[in-house]
């Protein structure tokens, strides 16, 4: 393992994480809801009409966050890591997988672990493992095979 300290951003990542925790706190203590993003998205589009208003507004806030950010400063640049086909495959896998597994990084990874849920711990370890293996294969195995 080699750690690339030159791109390590401990404070902004820690602060951003605290903001995410704060957002979950607000939604829980005011609305009584869990900020699991894959669940909210699925409910808004496919099920539970009674969840549409608050869920829809949460998603509007999420999508609108970059606009708010840009009022205070320049948005950081994102660097994409895959082609359009890769994005379609990734989106399909994430959509199906989070529904079968009942949550994503927010619902299982942040909220589930905060609640000390064993179910969410298993989910988080599993999707982290899936991510590690996939990136290993894509960055170190297939690249060498293809080149």
């Amino acid at each position: 393992m080699h750690i690339s300290w030159d791109v390590f951003t401990p404070w902004s990542s820690l602060f951003g994480g605290c903001l995410i925790g704060l957002a979950c706190a607000l939604l829980l203590l005011i609305n009584g809801k869990i900020a699991g993003i894959s669940g909210i998205l699925s409910n808004v589009f496919f099920t539970r009409p009674q969840e549409h208003l608050w869920g829809g507004l949460f998603l509007v806030g999420l999508i609108g966050a970059p606009l708010i950010y840009s009022v205070f400063g320049d948005l950081p640049q994102s660097v994409m890591q895959t082609s359009s086909i890769g994005l379609v495959i990734a989106g399909l896998l994430v959509g199906v997988g989070t529904r079968i597994g009942g949550g994503c990084t927010s619902g299982h990874g942040v909220i589930g672990l905060s609640r000390l849920s064993m179910r969410s711990l298993v989910a988080t370890i599993t999707f982290m493992f899936g991510g590690f293996v996939t990136v290993y294969l894509m960055q170190h195995v297939f690249v060498q095979v293809l080149s």
């Binding site: 995410i20 957002a23 993003i37 806030g61 970059p66 708010i68 609640r115 996939t134």
Partner: protein
Amino acid sequence: MKSLFALISGVIFGLGLIVSGMANPQKVIGFLDVFGDWDPSLALVMVGAIGVGIVVFTYAGKRAKTFLGDDLQITKQTVIDKKLVFGSLIFGVGWGVAGFCPGPGLVSLGMGYFEGFIFVIAMIAGMLIFQLIQKERR
């Protein structure tokens, strides 16, 4: 009124994703690339979010009600089965392919990246496929 707070919560969540680096697929892939040049930054996102989260959920568990007196709607699911593991594994693979999980995908859409748009549409299509398979099974 309550719905307004859902909107604010969404904004704060999105700001957190941008500030932390989670919204940038390069940071995510750097974090998942433990066998290459590993960027451990995003582990600290979990530390920050869960640190705040543990305090909040412990407090909320004691209150058992929201500030407005409503019931907390927290899942009581504890089952650990093949579905949980299989679904999470598929999600993890998808996460590793593009470096997007659901929240950052939506934020990237809001940042105006066409890639974010493609990812979100495909993700919703994936959820639709799940819904159709569910219906078929019933």
